[in-house]
Symmetry: none
């Protein structure tokens, strides 16, 4: 299953991927450390060189996933666009990131509705507060968006992203490019000035 895993970073990667995949399929409770290890191609004890406990593994995996997500949505090429286009692009980037990595969405959702969240410092908890909030604030400040509280805009943004991605992933409805555009359109129309 695995080629040689040499560096520590590569091993952590393998453990993360294995955990993500299994948690999507069996849930937090349903995935024993032994299975994570096996799927990652390492011994059970090895995981404990990298993570002090299952809890730490999960919290670290959350940080890792959040980082990946931020890299996926805020990108070089998107900075050049006009605000409305950036808004739509970022929304779509996020949906697409989740659709391409369903195990990440599943993990995030489970994480947020689990008691593990409490172990994060409250600031971290607002998981992409910084970049996202700044981006939305900018929209308000520059007059692209109505003068609503950031939390309202943010909830609309995030809520529609995850509802859309989940529905797509479940197979309840296959969102095509144009459907996604319609979806962002709804919120954008609702918040634009």
């Amino acid at each position: 299953m695995n080629v040689q895993l040499n560096t520590a970073a590569e091993k952590k990667q393998a453990i993360y991927q294995s955990t993500l995949r299994l948690i999507r399929e069996f849930g937090f409770h349903g995935t024993p450390m032994s299975q994570i290890a096996q799927e990652a191609g390492v011994a059970t004890g090895t995981i404990y060189h990298y993570f002090a406990s299952k809890e730490e593994l999960i919290v670290e995996l959350f940080r890792y996933s959040k980082e990946r997500m931020l890299n996926a949505i805020f990108r070089e090429d998107e900075r050049a666009l006009s605000y409305p286009r950036r808004f739509m692009t970022i929304w779509m980037n996020l949906v697409e990131h989740y659709i391409q990595h369903p195990e990440v969405l599943s993990f995030m959702e489970q994480f947020f509705s689990s008691p593990y969240v409490k172990t994060l410092y409250s600031e971290e908890c607002v998981y992409f507060q910084d970049e996202m909030s700044n981006f939305l604030k900018q929209g308000v400040d520059e007059g692209h968006i109505k003068p609503l509280d950031i939390n309202i805009i943010s909830a609309a943004f995030v809520g529609t992203v995850s509802a859309t991605a989940k529905r797509h992933i479940n197979g309840r409805f296959t969102f095509k490019e144009e459907d996604l555009k319609k979806m962002v359109g709804i919120i954008w129309d609702g918040i634009k000035n």
Copy 2:
């Protein structure tokens, strides 16, 4: 904490409430049957008179919670209103239901991101498909709403509800009546004809 629980129905109720409360606090994994029993004021074995297994208890609890939710959002008094007002009322009813019963929202979220969902027949999974879909379809048919796919509208509706309620419950932002109205306003503006 416990008055005499006589009827079977009362006992089931007590078990449901206890489960809901504990799952919110400790998660599925963190709440043993013994604790559910204790908090409900019954013996462990008693739960097994009412539910064949922990899984069945959870799935039944889901059905029960869904029922309660539907009763909370579709109500006599709301039928008389104009479509736009009904739309807003229902959205607000749902948010308020979750805000008043945070353990229900927490349970639902955990349920949907857990492997238990798989045990539901797929139709059931679309948890308030019938009433909700019909209501939205009616909006499209009667020309109140743009001719979008029901899934798009539905995702927008549901996604914003849960993002809003979660943010309020976490304490990240306290949505006041007027904030909620602004929030529905955004979607309504986005989908209305």
Copy 3:
């Protein structure tokens, strides 16, 4: 191996005996809960109905053993004797108790040289302080014993008891009735007025 064990008290007894026997043979570390359970004729989990953890089992076992020991050495028939005879009788009772129950001596010794001791309240730690100290104090007060600090007398008493019993149990030397008498004689001669 076991007849029906009905009462809770009987089960605790069985667990205690099993633990005592195994700890003597394999040490604290060398005796897993599973083996204790097996030897006691119960399931592993059952032990946890009676004791919250291995540590608690061991601490309780210490209390139980101490109780048994006190009952063995302070007895009805000994109260009637003259002080010197009581002194000798009690010393001999204790040695004989340990010789007849080597697993108790072994357990006690291991317990006192383990970190478990720290979990006892310091008063308890002085394990037969009360009865024993009172008895020795009485000897001093009534002028049978030289006016030495109780701790000195007590150390002499206890130290010789355990050195004697251990040596007998190891098989390094078989103390006969008369040898034991000589042994107490040494201390008695050393402390008597």
Copy 4:
């Protein structure tokens, strides 16, 4: 904490000290090889260059500690004294050795009440049999001591030493020079001719 450790002998020393300290604090079971290594300032694997296994380390440490103890109690300056004075001096040397090196007493006690003892050849087990027995035998032969079996005298000697040192180390009673003298006095009075 660690200066350069160059010679093999110095490394062994460091390992012994580290083991002694940790075992006193956490017990045999509570001190992993990795911690011993860390505290000694070497790598885990390094210990295995010097000792084939944890068991061997412990047995060797016992031999080392016994050697140190013998050097501490039988000394040039004490040979010149009269028998009674030698007896008392040796007894006091031993108590003082333990009081100054509580980790050694703790280790010895744990060692003797553990299954490790079994791995020693039985003669060795009688840990200072030779020098000590000879010394006591001499006392009997020369008529300083009553004609008792060596085992009786020896048990009295050893038992009081360890009971005294333990009580002092625990802090239950602080034996001053004069208290120690009283203590040896008791045994000496009990066995002298």
